[in-house]
């Protein structure tokens, strides 16, 4: 019924201790590569501990030893069967310049959907305000926007940015933390099958459309462009990218037509979600700084043409960055691994995935 526990422990304990030491070394130095004999030994020790666990579970109910062995086997199992490139090394430049835009492009349809829903909200907001100006308070939840746009423009131009003096850093930090929180919420709301994300996008779109319509109808279109473009061309895409991540998450949760189960789908997209969230955060930091230090200054302190020109230049750089950045890296990597003949589109994607894995970006 019960194995000779004392003899069993005496015989097996050296192997358990050795396995514990191997695991300890893995914890201390996860990037160290084992050579073949070391790997074989590690695998042997894992299998031996597994067999011991099986014996102790079958023939004895000694709880402490079983728990000790379960802990050892669980840890070794995690190390041996993991194939997702666990050891993360921060490479911020490569991540931002290569991985982030590449991930953005890989989920471009989710981004397009986010843009479409925002535009839908904007059209509704603009239309509602155009038809009924009294709806301003319902459409725009910000009190400082309820007044007449012409009055606000006159006030802003008269103040010459003096009200912002000495508050730039605190204002920028409040903006960026608030925007990042809202964006994270937009992303996380994707777990509600995307309903939460779509509602946030629609709401943002309605507010944006109503504000734009309000200023344009009041003949303050130039002020609006000068006020919104410098930071908005980065801030709005950043929020759309957060929503893109939310829709990617929703896609994984819904999994319509997918052959993988929910678990596999979530594992597949988790790296992309974190990358999109990180990229979005960087963009919002930039937008917060610009909004605080540039957007709040108006003519005559800063001519609108300069602000609009700056905003347009930013937009061009952003479009180029998101559409092209990182392509050269993959093309170079493809040359290094010598892909023969002409490369089809599917082949290129497979090649990119392979290169990503080799470059340490395994998903």
């Amino acid at each position: 019924m019960i194995v000779d526990l004392k003899r069993f422990i005496k015989e097996e304990q050296p192997f358990w201790t050795e396995l514990e030491e191997v695991l300890e070394r893995r914890v201390k130095d996860p990037d160290r590569t084992m050579d073949i004999p070391e790997l074989r030994r590690f695998h042997y020790l894992y299998q031996r501990a597994s067999a011991d666990l099986s014996r102790i579970a079958t023939f004895s109910s000694e709880k402490n030893i079983r728990m000790y062995l379960e802990g050892l086997v669980a840890q070794a199992y995690g190390e041996i069967h993991e194939g997702r490139g666990r050891h993360w090394r921060p490479k911020p430049m490569r991540w931002f310049l290569v991985r982030f835009p590449e991930t953005f492009r890989a989920h471009i349809r989710a981004f397009a959907l986010a843009v479409f829903v925002t535009l839908l909200g904007a059209v509704f907001g603009a239309g509602a305000l155009g038809m009924d100006e009294e709806a301003r308070e319902a459409l725009m939840p910000f009190e400082h926007l309820w007044g007449n746009p012409g009055d606000r423009v006159a006030m802003e131009e008269q103040s010459e940015g003096e009200d912002m003096a000495g508050h730039h850093a605190s204002f920028a930090s409040e903006l960026l933390t608030h925007n990042i929180q809202v964006s994270i919420l937009a992303m996380g709301a994707g777990i509600s099958w995307g309903i939460g994300t779509l509602l946030i996008l629609l709401t943002n779109g309605v507010i944006l459309g109503a504000v734009c319509a309000d200023y344009i109808l009041a003949g303050e279109g130039v002020f609006l462009a000068g006020w919104l473009l410098p930071h908005g061309v980065v801030e709005i895409p950043a929020i759309l990218i957060a929503a893109q991540a939310g829709l990617v998450l929703a896609g994984a949760v819904i999994g319509s037509g997918a052959r993988e189960n929910l678990s596999a789908r979530l594992v597949r997209v988790s790296g992309d979600l974190v990358t999109l969230a990180g990229g979005m955060a960087v963009m919002l930091v930039w937008a917060g700084i610009i909004e605080s230090f540039l957007s709040q200054y108006h003519a005559p302190v800063l001519p609108y043409s300069v602000k609009i020109g700056f905003g347009c230049a930013e937009l061009c750089v952003l479009v180029l960055f998101l559409s092209k950045s990182g392509e050269a890296f993959y093309a170079k990597a493809a040359r290094v691994i010598r892909v023969p003949g002409p490369v089809s589109r599917l082949g290129a994607r497979l090649m990119a995935a392979r290169t990503r894995r080799r470059a340490g970006y395994g998903r």
Binding site: I2, E20, E82, R84, S173, G188, S270
Partner: protein
Amino acid sequence: MDVRRNTVVARTPEGVSFSLELAGPVSRCMAFLLDICCVMAMQAVAGKAASLMGILSMDMASGFAVVSYFVLSMGYGMLTEWAWRGQTLGKRLLRLRVMDADGLALTFPQIALRNLLRPVDALPAMYLAGGLCMLATRRAQRLGDIAARTIVVRARETKEPDLDGLLPDKYNSLRRIPHLAARLRQRVGVEAAGIALSALTRRDGMNPEDRVRLFAEIAAYFKETVTFPPEATEGLSDERYVKNVVDVLYRT
């Protein structure tokens, strides 16, 4: 993976099963409160640094305070769970650990994602969404855990077993009657043997009265199962009797 009550049982390709005990909502809540205390303590330190910075510029100090609070509250969980393999300070104190739901090693995207989804779990207030989700799911997962494919389990101490102190090579009067010792091995089940061994392992932590009563009950059970003649049991305390029985059962 198989889920039984509060335990997840993982089966390896080698055909071996190991169990992971899931952490309950109360212990997770306690760990979270401890983590909030840690973040607040760090925030207090950052606030002091900001006030020193205020000597140079009040604007910079205020900006630093806002950003540091945000970074600490968002980054604390990610960094500690990554550095301590699934544990924050609160989880460490309460012996909890975040694990991959399949028992594999935890990856950084998983840790980041489960922490990024905290604001959604906190909706509409007091972690209601996350709490309800934990109660509704078999693996007690909040929304962040579901998205990141993680579970929170009770961490185990990997302490090497030591039976030398428990079963010393001393004279055992029950072994003098081999046929009864063999009958004892045959009749006593795995569970009863485990209870006796567990009682011996934990006896030093018991109250004297409870210890006497517990060993009396266990000894009575064994005496009822197989009755040894008086010459084999004379002068043996209940605890000594249980010890001898365990010695017979676990050492053939």
